[in-house]
């Protein structure tokens, strides 16, 4: 999977916007959106919010967690614990990037938020590497990856699965005779 595809999935998340136009309810395959009234907040998917924002038809209201105080708390919590903590949104990285790129004028302290999210991300990736290494070193057979987000899995997924694949085969070499002499074509 490519990061762009993960971002595409993230665009289905809902954000609140305040439109400055009025429009009746619109009916889409994914569900009904609206009605849009000037000044009245309404929930829409991120892709629509960005599109409207680019045409200056709305103001984006940042998600509740996208706030310096809350993110500092999350970052500290993440640094303190050995396991992965629960993220406020399964797409926190993608949403931060999308919203800060297209609607940074509606989000207070955008730069600080960017840094905080990046710090949290770096902490989590370092943890992921560390646990992957100890997983391989101790030759474990399964691991529980609670609270990992799709983007995080995606940055190391291919590498890790390939490595584990090799390791599995090298380990079957240890038990000669039990290996099946067959091949899949």
């Amino acid at each position: 999977m490519e990061p762009a595809e993960v971002e595409f999935l993230a665009e289905k998340e809902l954000v609140t916007i305040v439109p400055n136009f009025s429009l009746d309810r619109i009916h889409l395959i994914g569900g009904d959106l609206g009605p849009f009234n000037p000044g009245l907040p309404v929930e829409v998917p991120v892709w629509l919010a960005i599109s409207l924002k680019q045409r200056q038809k709305c103001r984006v209201i940042a998600p509740e967690w996208m706030d310096v105080g809350k993110l500092e708390e999350i970052r500290d919590q993440e640094r303190k614990e050995d396991t992965f903590t629960r993220m406020p949104s399964p797409y926190y990285m993608e949403l931060t990037k999308l919203l800060l790129n297209y609607a940074s004028d509606n989000i207070p302290k955008a730069d600080e938020i960017r840094t905080l999210v990046k710090d949290t991300w770096d902490t989590r990736i370092a943890k992921l590497r560390l646990s992957a290494d100890s997983f391989v070193r101790q030759q474990e057979v399964h691991a529980k990856l609670d609270n990992l987000t799709l983007m995080e899995i995606n940055t190391t997924g291919t590498f890790l699965t390939q490595a584990l694949d090799h390791m599995y085969k090298l380990r079957t070499n240890l038990q000669p005779g039990e290996t099946a002499h067959s091949q899949d074509f």
Binding site: E2, P3, A4, R129, T155, Q162, L170, N173, P176
Partner: protein, 212 residues
């Protein structure tokens, strides 16, 4: 998804993977051994003697390619005997168990893992130790490969991969691809639409030019 060609991975076991290019290349690696009987008309195939009918005398020391050694090896008839290449011997196994990450596996045989797994075919009494050594080598080198492949962004990686064997290089490439994809997404380059590789290459040579 974006690539036109998916390489088949190495078999990495007692059987090689028929469709894997890596395994085909690996199977012609040389293996030291000795002829236990007279081998008529094989002198030519092994580069000894000139005439097509030359035989190899009993007891002569030879280097077989792996595919031939596998074919000639027979535990009952003892046509040839096979020795372990140095890297799989006790002395090197000790080195590898001390610190595997400093060993230049590419120099010691670019297909360390695949070739080592194939050696288990030859009923060597040291087989369990060899299999264990190969597995442990992989495990202790894993961290270094993971870290270097996922941190080296925009730099020359030739120094990093110089000591890796072919299997590890493929892993390294997988890690690099993930890193590069993520970085280009983060910088916003992923949203730019670019021409597919296939189309770009297509433009380089037109059929009309070849014909004309």
């Amino acid at each position: 998804m974006s690539e036109a060609y998916f390489p088949v991975g190495p078999g990495l076991g007692l059987e090689e993977s028929f469709l894997s290019l890596d395994d085909i290349l690996m199977s012609q690696e040389k293996l030291p051994g000795r002829a236990e009987t007279r081998l008529p008309r094989l002198g030519f195939a092994l580069g000894q003697g000139t005439g097509a009918g030359d035989a190899i005398t009993e007891g002569s020391k030879l280097e077989f390619p792996l595919w031939l050694a596998k074919g000639l090896h027979d535990s009952k008839r003892r046509i040839i005997s096979v020795q372990l290449p140095n890297i799989y011997k006790e002395a090197w196994r000790t080195v590898l168990s001390a610190d595997a990450s400093v060993v230049d596996l590419h120099k010691m045989g670019p297909y360390y893992y695949g070739f080592g797994s194939q050696l288990l075919n030859f009923d060597n009494p040291e087989n369990p130790e060899i299999a264990q050594a190969i597995l442990q080598t992989f495990i202790s080198r894993f961290r270094r490969i993971m870290d270097s492949s996922q941190n080296a962004y925009n730099e020359d990686t030739s120094a990093l991969v110089a000591r890796l064997d072919e299997l590890e290089r493929a892993l390294f490439q997988a890690g690099q691809k993930e890193l590069n994809d993520f970085q280009s997404w983060e910088k916003g380059q992923a949203s730019q639409i670019t021409a597919s590789n296939l189309v770009q290459n297509y433009g380089k040579r037109k059929f009309t030019e070849v014909d004309g």
